[in-house]
């Protein structure tokens, strides 16, 4: 290794973990200390700006310890600042089993904040010619908007503005729909369990009609309630269509054109269910 690069690597090892790695020799500690402050301070500021609720709920000190663990334990790949929080989330998801002292709601809160932010900044998807905006979302194959996310949260972290989060989760999870409207605002809406289930099926689906999705979902419902639930479900699908959650219907499930191949794949939000 080149001599100057050896020095550079010893410097970054020290800046990542000053306790485990001594500073490279030859420089005044007061001056190396400026780099310790700059690197940690800058990373804390970047992550704090992207995850303001997380920082507030954890408090400055615990948030700082989390940032230090990230700096020490992870080698961040993205050069792009808007994507740093997403990389931080993936690191935390992976590291979670070995972090028993994190508050139980932390993973949910980081997920909620990063998904909301990513949705805000997501580039406009190209217009989808294979979707009929006037289509009947019950009789046809419903096509969800790509500008939404459906999250299942064990902890009600979307209410964290109201005060400190409790460590014990409520009995039932919260189903949260995040949706970007035409003005670019991200709206947060809590869904009931059946509505969330129906939307999850629609997000995961490229072949079945709205009616078929409903039928499959209601197989587990008590027989005497199916008619009423089915009627509610059909109304819900139409409400989703009116509000833009569903863009319309897919024109053809079996022969996606080369340009619309992406639309026949599963919705990116479907992977988030059950997180």
């Amino acid at each position: 290794m080149n001599g100057f690069q050896d020095w550079q690597r010893r410097l970054t090892a020290h800046l990542r973990d000053p306790e485990a790695h001594p500073a490279p020799e030859g420089a005044e500690d007061r001056r190396i200390g400026i780099y310790r402050r700059l690197v940690f301070g800058n990373l804390s500021r970047l992550l704090g700006a992207a995850l303001p609720l997380t920082r507030e709920q954890l408090g400055k000190k615990r948030f700082g310890l989390l940032v230090r663990d990230f700096l020490r334990g992870h080698r961040a790949a993205t050069p792009y600042f808007p994507r740093l929080a997403g990389e931080f989330r993936k690191w935390h998801e992976k590291a979670q089993p070995s972090r028993p002292n994190d508050p139980p709601w932390l993973g949910d809160l980081i997920l909620y904040e990063t998904e909301k932010r990513a949705l805000q900044r997501m580039p406009e998807p190209p217009a989808e010619p294979a979707i009929d905006p006037q289509g009947d979302v019950v009789a046809g194959i419903p096509a969800p908007s790509p500008l939404l996310r459906l999250l299942t949260l064990r902890h009600p972290v979307h209410k964290s503005k109201d005060g400190a989060l409790a460590d014990a989760p409520p009995e039932t999870p919260a189903f949260l729909l995040l949706r970007r409207d035409r003005a670019g605002r991200v709206l947060t809406q809590e869904l009931g369990v059946l509505t969330a289930g129906l939307l999850a099926l629609a997000l995961d689906n490229t072949r079945q009609t709205g009616a078929a999705l409903l039928k499959a979902m209601l197989r587990q419902a008590p027989p005497d309630s199916r008619d009423a639930l089915s009627k509610q479900g059909r109304e819900q699908l139409r409400r989703f269509h009116r509000s833009g959650v569903l863009l319309g219907t897919r024109r053809s499930a079996d022969a996606p054109s080369a340009t619309s191949a992406g639309s026949a794949s599963k919705h990116p939000a479907s992977a988030r269910l059950g997180a």
Partner: protein, 290 residues
């Protein structure tokens, strides 16, 4: 005679998030061009991405990179260079500048760390700059950074700068605040430094505020107004270089907008007091030819 950078002259400002809304309501007359970090904008859509377009459609723009780690020990991030190139084409960006520093080992640290001034480092860094210029098919500029520590220097900073610029055949983004900060931190004469750099390679300049940590230790924070000594140094630089395009950088402790724009206007005032604007300065020698 062509300007150094196509369409760029006068006084510029580093575009930061807190100004976006105010500037799009009332376009600032004092600003001739903007400088912005591609790593804050690449892949960004939605309302924020739309706001960017407002600026790139109305002002000439320079891309000032933060994450390339041109002096870093890890292989050059060529996908980033290609993304920056595509983004520059999309938005009609005039020039790409980066810091003569490193920001990563096996991963990003998102801060500007020093490259030791050695002959080995000159060859290594210059080779990487040339590679970037080959990919982008255009000349880039590198910036002299503030540094607080280094190891076994084999040459002084102006020698290092000159050697890298020559060997890479690239432009210089001359940051006069960094010259001042370094002159205090490493005890040299900032005017002698300015007189020693290759004038023909200076494509544009930066000015900014810093923080006085101790009498012999200044920190380049971009968090305060430009100090009088730095304004004086900028005038000294102009006296040798002519009034070349200059960007005010302000990242923290944002002042009320009129105060910020008054600093931008002061750049223009100093330039105009020295004569005509920076139009008409010969392009640096050794520009890229196909």
């Amino acid at each position: 005679m062509t300007p150094l950078i196509d369409g760029i002259s006068g006084a510029g400002l580093g575009l930061r998030r807190p100004y976006l809304k105010a500037f799009s309501k009332k376009p600032p007359e004092a600003v001739d061009f903007f400088e912005l970090a591609p790593e804050n904008w690449i892949g960004v859509g939605g309302a924020l991405g739309g706001q960017l377009r407002f600026f790139t459609e109305r002002w000439p723009v320079i891309a000032h990179g933060l994450s390339l780690s041109i002096g870093g020990p890890h292989p050059l991030n060529e996908p980033l260079v290609r993304d920056v190139g595509a983004w520059m084409d999309e938005h009609g960006v005039r020039l790409y500048s980066e810091h003569l520093s490193y920001t990563s080992d096996e991963g990003q640290l998102y801060d500007l760390l020093p490259i030791p001034f050695t002959a080995e480092a000159v060859r290594y860094v210059a080779g990487r700059i040339r590679r970037v210029q080959d990919i982008l098919e255009r000349q880039i500029a590198v910036e002299n950074v503030s540094y607080y520590a280094s190891m076994g220097a084999e040459m002084d900073e102006p020698e290092f700068l000159r050697a890298v610029l020559e060997e890479a055949d690239c432009g210089l983004l001359l940051d006069v605040n960094n010259v001042f900060v370094n002159s205090v931190n490493h005890s040299y004469d900032p005017r002698a430094f300015l007189d020693a750099i290759p004038a023909e390679r200076v494509l544009y300049l930066h000015t900014a505020g810093h923080y006085d940590e101790a009498p012999d230790l200044l920190i380049d924070t971009h968090g305060a107004a430009v100090k009088d000594e730095v304004w004086a140094l900028l005038e000294h630089a102009y006296s040798r270089l002519g009034p070349r395009p200059t960007v005010l950088e302000r990242d923290f402790n944002q002042p009320p907008l009129p105060e910020l724009l008054a600093e931008v206007a002061r750049i223009r005032d100093i330039q105009q007091a020295l004569g005509t604007k920076s139009q008409g300065i010969a392009a640096p020698s050794g520009g890229k030819t196909p």
